[in-house]
């Protein structure tokens, strides 16, 4: 598979690099997509060229929620294992984003600095995976979860899962049953749509030649929800029967079984036990099953919410599948710090600000649960700034906010400010949930000022934005606090907010 980049590919990489520098010099954002778009147009084989150079192979990370954080955690574990991660840390996760990551890393000869030690850690969009998987042939493919998300862009949930199954079947067909160069699937055992991908890829013949899998899941019923959430998507088994649940952790994710065909959630290879959820962190016991004695690690995860546990488990299982040392995994989970906009913290004029991206019903549910469950300061409940944009990257259709259970914020939040291009829709949803906003201000900069003004000095402001709103509000916060722009957030950020008082 090893090959040198062609002259044409080297030229394309240089052209992409020039474009990225121009974009950044013009102050028009991070140039995280354009370089890849240009380079990719000039030389269509760049994804393969990148893949061929990575001496340690690559990992793809896909799923509806948690890709960026999981990728960040895994890249940190790779780094702490003495390898060089090549990663699209800016969250640009279509083919052009991957090529942009290559453009950033490659020298003038089109070669990454240390090919022998380089390992691709690549976040891949759910819809782009089917085309990229056979071209990248990753060592490990991580599948986190599948929820409804931007139905106007991705189409229906079933068609996304169908695309994944087809891609895995094609991969099996090409690679054959030898097991040589085979891709290990890292699968969320608790999400039935994800867990059953293993059997699809395995094909009819059980036994030798099976595609290797590494599963992960939560083994702690004490953090389960009372029942399946409204925003659940995989309510029915491949055989057509409805799933039964012994425990639900979020949406349709939990301890599931089908009484008709006998499919059921299997005990995971990598598990979180003794999970304790706190206002802005989670403590858990991480079990890594292995041949021979496994390892158990005590982890203090510096992120809030059960959804953060799944991100940590996905990263840990992938790292484990790669054979990275347990210590590197534990250190990465505890010290990598948040990805941009995902529980990032800022301090503005003595007010603590936490940025919690909420981009689809399940993600908004989890963020609302984290906010409702947090008592971050002793000065009363946090102020909430809820921002709903309807750009292409947010989803043009904003009706999804009715699938989120914002009712759980009743009496669990301080004053609320609604903002964004669809501030009026956000305000109406909040009112119908029983949480009337104090301020409705479509302009995000003005809304942020008003929200900060309502927040007491020393108090907390929780910001719950959709994707483009997050980029906008983050830039405002970064400007005021001197934080790095989002395309330079690969290195662990120094914590810039003090520990919460309780």
């Amino acid at each position: 598979m090893q090959r040198e980049p062609t002259l044409r590919e080297r030229g394309a990489l240089l052209a992409g690099r020039g474009a990225g520098e121009a974009v950044r010099r013009l102050g028009r954002g991070g140039g995280t997509a354009l370089p890849g778009l240009i380079a990719g147009a000039l030389a269509p084989g760049l994804v393969e060229a990148l893949g061929a150079q990575l001496g340690q192979g690559s990992v793809t990370v896909t799923g509806t929620n948690g890709k960026t954080t999981t990728t960040r955690l895994l890249a940190e574990a790779v780094r702490r294992s003495g390898l060089e991660p090549v990663t699209n840390h800016s969250g640009s996760n279509l083919e052009r984003g991957l090529v942009s990551a290559y453009v950033d890393e490659a020298g003038p000869d089109g070669v990454v600095p240390d090919p022998a030690r380089s390992l691709g850690v690549l976040e891949v969009d759910e819809a782009a995976l089917a085309s990229l998987l056979p071209r990248l042939r990753p060592r490990v493919a991580v599948f986190l979860n599948l929820f409804r998300d931007q139905l106007d862009r991705y189409g229906e949930v079933d068609s996304v899962a169908e695309g994944w199954r087809d891609a895995l079947l094609r991969l099996s067909g090409e690679v054959g049953d030898s097991g040589d160069g085979d891709t290990t699937l890292v699968l969320n055992a608790d999400d039935p749509t994800i867990a059953t991908l293993g059997e699809v890829a395995r094909g009819p013949a059980q036994g030798p030649g099976q595609r290797p899998t590494m599963t992960f899941g939560i083994e702690d019923r004490s953090v389960a929800l009372p029942g399946v959430e409204h925003a659940a998507d995989a309510r029915f088994c491949l055989c057509g029967e409805a799933f039964e649940y012994e425990a639900v952790y979020m949406g349709h994710v939990g301890v599931w079984r089908c009484d008709s065909c006998g499919r059921r959630r299997a005990e995971p290879d990598v598990a979180a036990r003794d999970v304790e959820l706190m206002a802005d962190s989670v403590s858990l016991q991480l079990d890594l099953r292995a041949e021979g004695p496994g390892r158990t690690l005590q982890i203090d995860l510096p992120f809030a919410g059960l959804y953060s546990v799944y991100n940590a488990l996905g990263a840990a299982a992938a790292a484990h599948a790669l054979g990275l040392p347990a210590e590197a995994i534990a250190d990465a989970l505890e010290q990598a710090g948040p990805a941009f906009g995902r529980q990032e913290r800022f301090t503005v004029d003595g007010r603590h600000v936490r940025l919690l991206l909420a981009k689809n019903p399940t993600s908004m549910n989890e963020v609302a649960r984290a906010i409702a469950g947090a008592t971050l300061g002793s000065d009363g409940p946090s102020v909430l700034l809820a921002i709903l944009n309807d750009g292409i990257a947010d989803g043009r259709d904003v009706s999804w906010i009715y699938d989120a259970d914002l009712e759980q914020l009743v009496d669990r939040t301080g004053s609320v400010v609604a903002s964004g291009t669809r501030a009026d829709d956000m305000a109406l949803r909040l009112v119908l949930a029983g949480v009337e906003p104090a301020v409705v201000e479509p302009d995000i900069a003005a809304a942020l000022e008003q929200a900060l003004a309502i927040t007491a000095e020393g108090g907390w402001l929780e910001v719950m934005p959709t994707y483009t709103a997050m980029l906008e509000v983050r830039e405002l916060l970064a400007t005021r606090t001197g934080a790095a722009p989002f395309w330079r957030t690969a290195e662990p950020a120094a914590p810039d907010a003090p520990e919460p008082s309780s």
């Binding site: 139905l151 949930v157 309510r235 009026d424 119908l432 409705v440």
Partner: protein
């Protein structure tokens, strides 16, 4: 204060666990909130697969679903077509959305060529184009001829193309968007008090006139007559409606002449 409200409408919510793909729950949430504001009781019964239909209903709701969900309910729904048509003939208001609307027509032919038989509450048929054909996706602005409803805003996302027969009229005329099929400017269907539409999810929250129309119809169904509802402003709903209308004018599909 004594007891509950003087008047209560009985709402039957069909298969909410299955047919809910585009946030159709928003319609029930808005209906309950509006009834509360108007001082009207709202007794909603969720009917799941295998559950019997209640003996009586003043308002029937059904939401959208993917092909898979439509297949799950189609058989049972068709077996109840007689009663549902009887209810529609008896002026029971209905709101059937997207996949539910398709199954309230005569049939829905999937991209694979399977024909799912509908309830035929509406004289309409739906045919999905071959896989890979463009879906009808986007913001919609339409004008309804239903008394008191007027301008309707929403979002559509469907593959199937619906064509109305002589026994049904359109719920609304499309100003921006695709509507039933992208060709004839029709949006949804209307039969007596029953409404079918492709506008999903947050339809009732920001179309308060339609919500009121359904509530009024339900009151008339239960109590015989019913005067106009008290005019209670909902400033949040009005603003969200106006924003959605502006968005649809700016970026909704222009109808070919």
């Amino acid at each position: 204060m004594s007891g509950g409200p003087e008047q209560t409408i009985r709402v039957v919510d069909l298969y909410p666990e299955v047919m809910n793909v585009y946030a159709d729950r928003g319609n029930v949430i808005a209906l309950r909130a509006r009834c509360r504001a108007l001082g009207i009781g709202c007794e909603a019964t969720a009917v799941g697969l295998g559950d019997p239909l209640p003996a009586e209903a003043d308002l029937v709701l059904i939401g959208g679903g993917q092909d898979r969900e439509q297949r799950r309910i189609a058989g049972e729904l068709a077996s109840r077509a007689g009663l549902l048509r009887e209810w529609a003939d008896g002026d029971t208001p209905m709101l059937a959305v997207c996949g539910g609307f398709q199954l309230f027509g005569r049939f829905y032919r999937t991209a694979e060529g399977d024909e799912l038989i509908g309830t035929a509450v509406f004289d309409a048929v739906t045919v999905a184009p071959a896989r890979g054909a463009a879906r009808c996706i986007g913001d919609v602005l339409a004008q309804s001829g239903v008394e008191g409803v007027g301008e309707v805003v929403g979002f559509e996302n469907h593959a199937g193309r619906t064509y109305l027969g002589p026994g049904a009229e359109a719920f609304a005329r499309v100003l921006h968007g695709h509507g039933n099929n992208g060709d004839d400017r029709t949006e949804g269907a209307l039969y007596r008090e029953a409404i079918g539409t492709y506008l999903h999810g947050s339809l009732l929250p920001k179309n308060m006139a339609l919500t009121d129309r359904l509530i009024l119809g339900a009151l008339r169904h239960r109590y015989g007559d019913g005067g106009p509802l008290p005019a209670i402003d909902d400033i949040y709903a009005e603003r969200a409606h106006r924003t959605a209308a502006t968005v649809a004018r700016e970026r909704g599909r222009s109808y070919p002449r």
